[in-house]
Symmetry: C2
Subunit: 319 residues, 2 copies
Amino acid sequence: MRCFAGIDVGGTNSKIGLLDENGNILITESIKTESNKGPQDTIERIWKTVEKLAKEISVNIEDIEGVGVGIPGPVVDESIVKIAANFSWGNDFPAKKMFEEITKKRVKIGNDVKVIALGEQLYGAGKGYKNSITIPIGTGIAAGIIIDGRILAGTTGAGGEFGHIVINKKGHKCGCGLTGCLETYCSATGIVREAKIILKDNKESTLLEVVDNDLDKLEAYHIFEEAKKKDKIAMKIVDDFCDNLAHGIGTLLNIVNPEIIIFAGGVSKAGSIITDGVKKHLDKYALKMTTEDLKFAFSELGNDAGIKGAAALIINDLK
Amino acid sequence: MRCFAGIDVGGTNSKIGLLDENGNILITESIKTESNKGPQDTIERIWKTVEKLAKEISVNIEDIEGVGVGIPGPVVDESIVKIAANFSWGNDFPAKKMFEEITKKRVKIGNDVKVIALGEQLYGAGKGYKNSITIPIGTGIAAGIIIDGRILAGTTGAGGEFGHIVINKKGHKCGCGLTGCLETYCSATGIVREAKIILKDNKESTLLEVVDNDLDKLEAYHIFEEAKKKDKIAMKIVDDFCDNLAHGIGTLLNIVNPEIIIFAGGVSKAGSIITDGVKKHLDKYALKMTTEDLKFAFSELGNDAGIKGAAALIINDLK
């Protein structure tokens, strides 16, 4: 049986899976990444886990056709991690080379967000489409852009850094150094900050009740929940959020013109209140020909998106 | 000898060329498009011209391996022109099918801007790069995006419609129906409009002299010329233009992350005053990792870009 390893290297845990050629997970296990022990140690532990898993389902190591790896940070040429963001493995970290030396397999490396986008397109909410954009919204916001079935990685791995497009020149300073980035509005931290600004002058909101008048306790999901219950202030905050998100998505549409937008990440769990809000404002920012047949969806693979997408880096290539 | 036909169908004239497999033009000729005679007539006249040109350089029609066609309007699947913008050939015009029926050759259709971008990347200013964006600035502004050597066409042909990203929600109404599009600032018409607004309250400018105080005579090149001669008002207008253009380009960089930006079109003839101005403002809008190794250049192929890029649609595919 043709078999593929999909590895989702995270800051804390790394998820490891063996998959068949249709992206079905045969077996999976999570280990601590413990990146402080160094890349050699981490990759060897990952590979030992693969060998153990293969044994458990009676797969010969020789039958593993390749290893796909998703990792945080910008990835160049499916091999080098420019900035190993969550690890102290240095810049221009040669991930592909090290994985190849240890595994003796064909290896491809992808940025974690982009790999998830590939997984969703091939095996999840984007199945059947050629051009999709997966937008994870959590602490930050980014875009995994898939064009004709291939990841748009960018020359230095910065393709899809759409959280940092400037939508308001006079806006907030962003952690990246720019001012007025989409991410300062359309992320969990962004919406909470906007909410705090509005709540200072508007005390008539159930939002204050749910956090016992302690705004330090306010989280993004409170805002979406109270908006769904028709609290006027929460509704206004969510409407602004959706307006700004529509601005960002409209920009993406006019440049990339995909078939489907897939929302992922913690904030997307708010559900249709986001898609409804974005649709309401989108016509201000996107050319009609980019929206007429556009679909919206939510991530379907959840925690499996990482290993499925990682394995897809290899599977996709053999087709 | 392997030979390819490159055809650049324009609103008034159509340029027709025969090229070798390295994109060198062997022979070329321009004919009136006269699209009012209908597509059958136009395509037949184009093909007769190809046959005539082939005869002139002793190429057998059998040796023409394919026909690449650049045409205005959004093109889908390298075959259908969604909106035949400059012609009355109807929407969803089956260009590939009609060209194939008449020429009996392998045919690929591309949008004219995107085809020019492909030509520049393969044979002009973008030679040697894999990821480039060619930005023609004239009456309007657009982007021909090439990723890994392939045109980003977009699902409905709207890929690279970057003239219509909204950079100022409270800006001017654009011809496309949106408000505050980049094109309302960064185009020949856009800069002239901004100039007229500023010149109403600022009479101390050589710009008024060069148009004999008749602002109806003002054109984009006047503004760039007077700015080069250090007229303060013209310099301010050009600086605003470059600031807005940097906003648009920074957005593109954060999403597509190319290796090189190539300026084309009439306005780009102003030269380094544009690249210098964009570079001055770019750090406000683009992540550093997208600009560090970024190159800027100007179109090198001029009027030949259309037929070279059109032929490249076929040549590129055979490699």
